[in-house]
Each structure stands twice: as C-alpha cells, then as structure tokens.
C-alpha cells in the first residue's frame, strides 16, 4: 500500500537530526550509518521526494584550487551515487586523442617494436582546444584485412613522425662516459616526435596549438651509435573505457569531508599530544578564555589560561583514527565524515584543463540521460 503522500503530520527533520543523518560515524574499528536514507517513506511522514528546487537550494560548490593540471573543489548536498557517476565519467568516458597505430619502418634499438608502440601510445598530447574537441571526430576502425588507412581523414586522424638515429659525437672527449654527451640522440624523448598536419589540421593546430607532447621530457628509448628508429604514428580519439591511454585524467577522486568533534575539553599536555595525532594544521592550540571558564558545566571551570585543543581545519585530516587509540582521549572526541560533502581532486593528464573536465563530465551525464530518454520513448512506441 502506498504511504499517504500528504501526511497531515509532515515533519521536516531539524538541523541537528539532519546533521546526524548526514554523518558517517567513524569508530576505532568500525564505521556506522554508511548508507543514505533520504528516500520517501524511510521516515514516516517525511517528504523526501525529489524536487529540483530543493536540490538547487541544498547543493553548493566550493573551489579550493584551480590549476590547469589540478583542480580541487567540494560538492555539497549531493548524493554519492551522483558524484560517483561524475567521477566514473571523468575516468572512462571523456574522449581524448592518443596514439593508436604505429607504423614502424625501422627500429634497430633494443626496445622491441611492440614495447615501443605501447610506450608511444601512453604519451599524453596537447593541442588546440577547438581542433581537439570540435573539429576532430571519431575514427571507425577498419575491418581486419581492410586497408589500415581506409577510414583515415584529416578530421579523425592526426599523424606524427619519429625519426632519430644515434651517431657518435666526434667533438666529445674520447673518455666521455655520459652517453648523452658521447653520442648524438642517445636518448629519444617525446620532444623528438614531429607533428605532420594534413588538410584542415593546418589551421586548427597552427603555432602554439600544434599537437605536441604535454611533457617533452618523457624518455621513449635509449640508443647506441648505429641504432635507429623511424616510424609514423596515427592518433585517434578514444575513451578510457577502451584503453587507459585515452583517460583524460591522471587521477579523479573524491573523499568525504572529515568531521572532528571535541565533545569534552582536551587540555594542557593532552592537547599537544592530541594535536600530534593529526596532520599539520588540523588541530590548533588555544588558551581557555575567562568567559569559557565562567560557564558552568563546560568543563573549562578553573582552567583559565590553560592550553586547549580546537579543531582548525578538518579538511586536512586523513582520518587516521590515531586519536582513538589513546585512552586519555576516550569519550572526548568523535570522528565522522559528512556523507554529502565530496572533496573532489581532478588531475588532468594535459589534453583538457581539469576544471573543464568536470564540466564535460556533467555535460556527458546529461547527454547520456537524454539519449536514453529517447530510447525509452522508442521502446514504448
């Protein structure tokens, strides 16, 4: 039987109750309250139905860092299933361009052809955003037996070349034992890769927008005089679900906001010990004020001027639970995590900016739902 939607005794949870529900309890050996319960019917008479306005009011974002290679921000008032979807999309569903085919003309280095090809595939590349995101489209892999170049056009294939030959450096000291000085091209780096634009690529990837390795110093192979590498590469778009080289992020992860609650005063030497149980900056030391000491039942009575531990920045905590191991803090501290506060950390591998990546993952999620909505309509029809 359906619960009455309009319960006459509708009671919204108060702030304290809400905080309790949104806290994952962390104890010495266990965790508690680890599943979300914000569903209609879970608490009788409470209206937990999805409403966009309520979501908009409850949801907030806070930026901590925004560099091209690393963005860190908090999403608050959102369920784990949704933020996890964004995280998963970041890792495996946002397309990037990576080396997919290697055509080796010559390779007399000690690195075997297939190993060399694999190494080349893992090098992250950058290039003009407009060209990468809008101009370049998907490439359809030719069927086995078909011409390898069959479906390759300027709008789906980027071609690169690597031609290096190791030779003796005549100018070097004969006793020189650093191969990089004794020989030319003893080390092959990502910077040795040459981009060869075709067709419309010349205008999309001109100048600073050229396709180039994000990190020019990636070592590809080591050679000795007489050895040579000569090859052409084809880059295509792909997604991380297919191969990790296509993943646009180095890491994309979140953690829940730690909660540290000092329930009874921790004073004097104990306070200093308590501070050492946490990473730097989490716990600060303060002096007990006269006002606090005057308050009856606060536990600060007759401790004016003593050192006390206060929580300064719980976000920096790693939740090591060290403080729960010491008997002197027993019953004085409660640890937890906020179930609906996700501290995201996105490290881009260089093709996208990291903040741009999150926007893309949200866009991707929406598009996914839109497509499926149409699919459901077609199914019913």
């Amino acid at each position: 039987m359906a619960p009455s939607k309009k319960a006459s005794w509708t009671n919204a949870p108060d702030a304290e109750e809400l905080e309790k529900r949104n806290t994952v309890g962390i104890h010495k050996e266990t965790v508690t309250h680890n599943t979300s319960v914000d569903f209609p019917g879970h608490v009788p008479g409470e209206d937990e139905a999805f409403s966009l306005d309520r979501f908009r009011d409850g949801f907030s974002v806070d930026f901590h860092q925004n560099d091209p290679f690393h963005a860190s921000f908090s999403l608050m008032g959102i369920d784990a299933s949704l933020s996890n979807a964004f995280r998963r999309i970041l890792i495996s569903e946002i397309p990037t361009l990576a080396v997919e085919n290697v055509f080796i003309e010559i390779n007399t280095s000690v690195v075997q052809d297939e190993v060399l090809a694999h190494r080349l595939g893992l090098i992250p590349f950058k290039g003009g955003k407009e060209g990468l995101h809008n101009f370049l489209k998907w490439h359809k892999k030719p069927e086995p037996g078909e011409d390898a170049y069959k479906n390759s056009y300027d709008w789906n294939t980027v071609s690169l070349e690597l031609n290096v030959k190791c030779t003796l450096n005549e100018d070097a000291d004969p006793r020189e034992d650093d191969p990089r000085k004794a020989y030319h091209n003893a080390h092959v780096y990502a910077r040795d890769i040459v981009f060869t634009p075709t067709g419309a690529q010349e205008q999309y990837f001109a100048g600073d927008d050229a396709i180039a390795p994000v990190h020019p110093d990636i070592l590809i192979a080591k050679m000795r005089p007489g050895q040579q590498i000569g090859l052409t590469m084809h880059m295509h778009k792909g997604i991380g679900a297919d191969h990790a080289k296509f993943s646009p992020v180095a890491t994309a992860s979140y953690r829940l906001m730690p909660i540290i609650k000092i329930t009874r005063p921790i004073l004097g030497a104990d306070a200093e010990k308590f501070q050492k149980c946490f990473p730097d900056g989490v716990i600060a030391l303060d002096k007990v004020s006269a006002k606090e000491a005057a308050q009856k039942g606060s536990g600060y009575e007759s401790h004016v001027g003593e050192t006390k531990a206060v929580v300064a920045d719980p976000m920096r905590d790693t939740v090591s639970r060290e403080c729960l191991r010491h008997p002197e803090f027993e019953g004085k501290v409660k640890l937890g995590r906020r179930r609906d506060h996700f501290i995201f950390s996105i490290e881009s591998s260089g093709q996208w900016d990291s903040d741009e990546l999150f926007m893309e993952s949200v866009k991707h999620m929406k598009l996914k739902c839109k497509k499926l909505e149409q699919q459901v309509m077609d199914m019913v029809r």
Binding site: M1, A2, P3, K5, S36, D38, F39, P40, G41, D47, E48, A49, F50, L52, F55, R56, F59, S60, V61, D62, F63, N66, P68, F73, L75, I78, D79, S81, L82, N84, A85, F86, R88, I89, S92, E93, K140, D353, D355, F358, M359, V362, K363, M365, K366, K368, C369, K370, K371, L372, E373, Q374, Q375, V376, M377, D378, M379, V380, R381
Partner: protein, 146 residues
C-alpha cells in the same frame, strides 16, 4: 537497427535483440553500402522491457550502460514517492548489460523510469550551472585567466 518493426514482443525480434551484432552483420551483407552508412547514424535500440513485466512492476535492460548510470538512476528513481522499489544490477560482468527493476505503488513503471531520466538531466543542469559560477568567482578572485 533499421529493420526494426513496431512489434515489440515477437519472438523473432527478441532474438535479434539478444544478439544485436550478428543481426547487424546479416543485414549489412544484404544491404548496399549507402544503407550501411546510414546504419551508423541510426542509434540501435539499447533499452528493452524484460519479459514477465507488468505495468506497475517492470525490469528494464540497458545495453552498454553500467554502474555509472545504473546507480545514479536508481537513486533518483528511489526519490520518487510513487516508487515502491527500485534496484539495479549488472547480471554478468562480461556482458555489457545493466538491469533496472522498478515497482510502483501506482502509475506505470515506465513513467517512473522516464521521470528518473528527466530528473537526472535537471540535476546535471543545476550542478553545471553552480559549478561554473563558482569557478568564475574563484578565477576572478585569484586572477586566473583561462
């Protein structure tokens, strides 16, 4: 699949959906190249109702979807007060399939699914909008020009 008919439950269609790749190969061989090109643009049907479903209690099979959409969709559908039960599963890890079970107190299970997908899109809009405003604020504050 271009050869699809409106009939949903004929055994022939069901078989084709069970093995979409082989069906496509068979069709491609018959069709000429122009139609083969068109096939790429037409999205194959990726959602179906599993047999044994009623109006208020149905299981849906999603092809090429996983935990990413499964869990998010499960959450928003569970937020619907008309829904008695909703759960998702991936029956076997090596098959690209995800099943969602929806049971409603009243109303069609399909409608709950549709509402879920619509709500998710709304959520995405709000998240994107708030994220972008905060990003702009942060960048302006810290002199990041990008």
């Amino acid at each position: 699949m271009p050869g699809r008919t409106t009939k949903e439950d004929t055994p022939q269609d069901a078989q084709m959906e069970d093995a979409p790749t082989s069906a496509q190969v068979g069709e491609a061989q018959v069709e000429d190249e122009i139609e083969e090109d068109q096939e790429e643009e037409v999205e194959p049907q990726r959602v179906r109702i599993l047999p044994g479903s009623t109006d208020t209690a149905a299981s849906f099979e999603f092809i090429d979807e996983g935990h990413t959409l499964g869990n998010a969709l499960r959450y928003v559908i569970m937020k619907n007060p008309d829904v008695e039960f909703c759960a998702y599963s991936i029956p076997h890890p090596s098959e690209p399939k995800m099943n969602i079970r929806i049971q409603t107190y009243d109303g069609h299970a399909v409608d709950a699914l549709k509402k879920g997908l619509a709500d998710l899109q709304d959520v995405c809009d709000v998240v994107a909008e708030k994220f972008w405003t905060k990003r702009e604020e942060y960048n302006a504050e810290h002199g990041i020009a990008r």
